[in-house]
Amino acid sequence: MEFAVSAKDAKFREDVREWLSVNVPRDPRPPITLAGAEQVEFMRRWQRKLFDGGWAGISWPEEYGGRGLSLVEQVIWYEEYARAGAPEAGCLFCSLQHAAPTLIVKGSPEQKAYYLPRILTGEDIWCQGFSEPGAGSDLANISTRGTVECDYIIVNGSKIWTSFAQVSDYQELVIRTQPGSKRHKGLTWIICDMRLPGITIRPIKSLDGEYHNCEVFYDNVEIPVVNVVGKIDDGWSVAMATLSFERGTAFMETQMRLAYTVEKLIGLARLLKGADGRPIIEDGGIASQLSRLRARSASLKAMTYMGASRARNSDMPGPEGTYIALRCGEMKQEVYRLAMEILGPQGMERPVELATQDLVQQYLYSYAATIGGGTSEIRRNIIGERLLGLPRHG
């Protein structure tokens, strides 16, 4: 256990704060609509600005154009990022937080050379292609199949809950390439160009009015074999690399934003008055929940440090990342539920039909936090079975 104080620390925070204060877009990030063009344009512009400012890929190794920041610096970055009200990753989340880390670990030199720079500049948008109807978030039940024919893999089947498919250039697609294989064997992880013939995309409207998810259908889609990441039939280990990464520091932005939202809610509760004319913060029921969430934000950050400290001593982040994913999802809901209590009657209103900066919209979106990327129930199963060694359901 060690805390190495750096003289650069305060200076770094100052630099970040200054750059963000000048560059963060004044307009909020547009919602993700049926077509999604506004958000894409907005996020591409912002990512380009980050890139030009030297703030793209802060956690990536420098050899791939990243900044290679230390964990402490990353925390500072996300703290300042949240404080500045900078845009959430949105349609760039998958490319930056899933696809790039996977390619860095498992991609071929050619794949890295082609895709990584395009991700870094925001040119390409990626989506995930793991979940299937009926399989839930359990990769072992994947049935979308790929047949190798010469230099192509012919894909047939469908995926569901694919976020941002309607605006994506590429997809991290996991398919079953060994016919009749069971569970985790015989899967292949492949880069799928979303403009290929045979792909149909059906965006699904979410309860918050945005179109976060899509169904994607594959009808004899021909993907070149060179697009396979890792080896054919070895997709499970590639996917695991992504998921492990996802469960680690990928939650950092969400965490810092939550911590900052709690501070904002404290401010809001001091400012707003209830129908009884008293500031909401004087309602001890509200105040005690704010206290609790303030402490829980701190400990969530500490859990991230703990996970990263463990990772430093091993090649891949352990499954303890599931702790962070579970807590993060449930806390997000707690925070926005409390926001609704503070807002009271104002929570019945939305200023415009869709606005990502609106607390009510964020409240509604928070319902995804315990469902998407593995429900809380699945996460508790993983902790119980893989970490604690409890028996699986027969």
Partner: protein, 336 residues
């Protein structure tokens, strides 16, 4: 009558009599046919087409005196009917219309009363928010009901000022901001009537809870994962049990409170407040659990779980911030 003085025998019966059951069932039959919940899937603050037919059925006049065109029963029967309204997500303007009709009758405005009962006019609701009020389901030409302490007031559209249209959390309802004028159409001071408004919101919440339970259980029984229905897993089964318990608890308290209110017992204020609190809290927790039980589907607008959640928020906030309702529960007198 649901309340009588027997002199020597005493009882509390929370099961509807066959007459009471028939009234509720009559309304339920009509709603099943004309108000299926999925009518709201892509609706945006539009008035239900069949409002007039529902009115003509007598559904808003259950406790309006017969001489004013109502059925002349009491709040106990109203509660049964409004639970059915809740089950079909009928507009909360049903509450405003019912109470405005009673107020109009009490005030001798018989023509207005009949217009409301026949569905020719509708009354929306005003909830205090910030320095003004939120106008829920107050469309052009609609009346608007506001309550404050034991006073209930009915405003006509031209008595509202500074109106500004809003987008509602529950987008199937219309919402606006505005200010109430100084000269309401009707002012009534009637503690029981004010309490009945809260109780009917609670009754509608019970109806939503019933639908929530049925939807959750139905999904748990039919949706398969890992080769079995997900209801096998305690992570799903136990939340379903909790929703069922929440529905039983809320309805028991609403039914009980309706009897206390009808009998005008001193503890009625506490019982009605507790009913609103328990029904709102249980409905909210259950609506959330139902979304979680539905997994990815629950987050879409393709199943009705989200409609239930949003409606619960609105009914829970109706007239009173639940935060302040909770506080008042500690102060109200309670005989034990």
């Amino acid at each position: 009558m649901a309340c009588r003085d027997t002199g020597d025998d005493q009882m509390i019966d929370l099961i509807p009599s066959s007459e009471q059951g028939a009234i509720a069932e009559g309304v339920a039959d009509f709603l099943r046919e004309h108000f299926p919940i999925d009518r709201l899937r892509h609706s945006r603050g539009t008035v239900d087409d069949n409002w007039v037919d529902l009115a003509q059925l007598g559904a808003f006049g259950v406790s309006v005196p017969e001489e004013s065109g109502g059925i002349g029963l009491g709040v106990v029967e109203d509660v049964l009917v409004f639970r059915e309204f809740g089950r079909h997500l009928v507009s909360p303007a049903a509450i405003g219309t019912r109470v405005a009709a009673i107020a109009a009758a009490a005030n001798g405005q018989e023509a207005l009363c009949r217009d409301l009962l026949k569905g020719r006019r509708r009354a929306g609701l005003a909830t205090p928010a910030g320095s003004g009020v939120q106008l829920l389901e107050v469309g052009t030409g609609d009346l608007c009901v506001a309550i404050s302490g034991e006073i209930l007031q009915v405003f006509d559209t031209d008595q509202l000022a500074d109106r500004e249209e809003l987008f509602a959390l529950d987008e199937t309802l219309t919402l606006a901001r505005g200010r109430l004028g100084k000269a309401p159409l009707i002012t009534v001071t009637d503690r029981s009537l004010v309490l009945s408004v809260r109780l009917l919101a609670a009754a509608m919440l019970c109806g939503v809870l019933d639908v929530t339970r049925d939807m959750a259980v139905d999904y748990a029984r039919t949706r398969q994962q890992f080769g079995v229905p997900i209801g096998v897993f305690q992570g799903i089964k136990h939340p379903c049990a909790d929703i069922a318990l929440a529905a039983e608890e809320a309805w028991s308290q609403v039914a009980y409170a309706s009897l206390m209110l009808e009998a005008e017992l001193p503890s009625a204020a506490f019982d009605v407040t507790a009913a609103k609190f328990v029904a709102g809290d249980n409905a909210l927790v259950s609506a959330r659990a139902n979304i979680q039980i539905h997994g990815g589907m629950g987050f879409t607008d393709e199943v009705d779980a989200q409609l239930l959640l949003k409606r619960v928020h609105v009914l829970h906030q109706l007239f009173d911030d639940p935060r302040l309702v909770r506080q008042s529960l500690l102060e109200l007198p309670l005989e034990i």
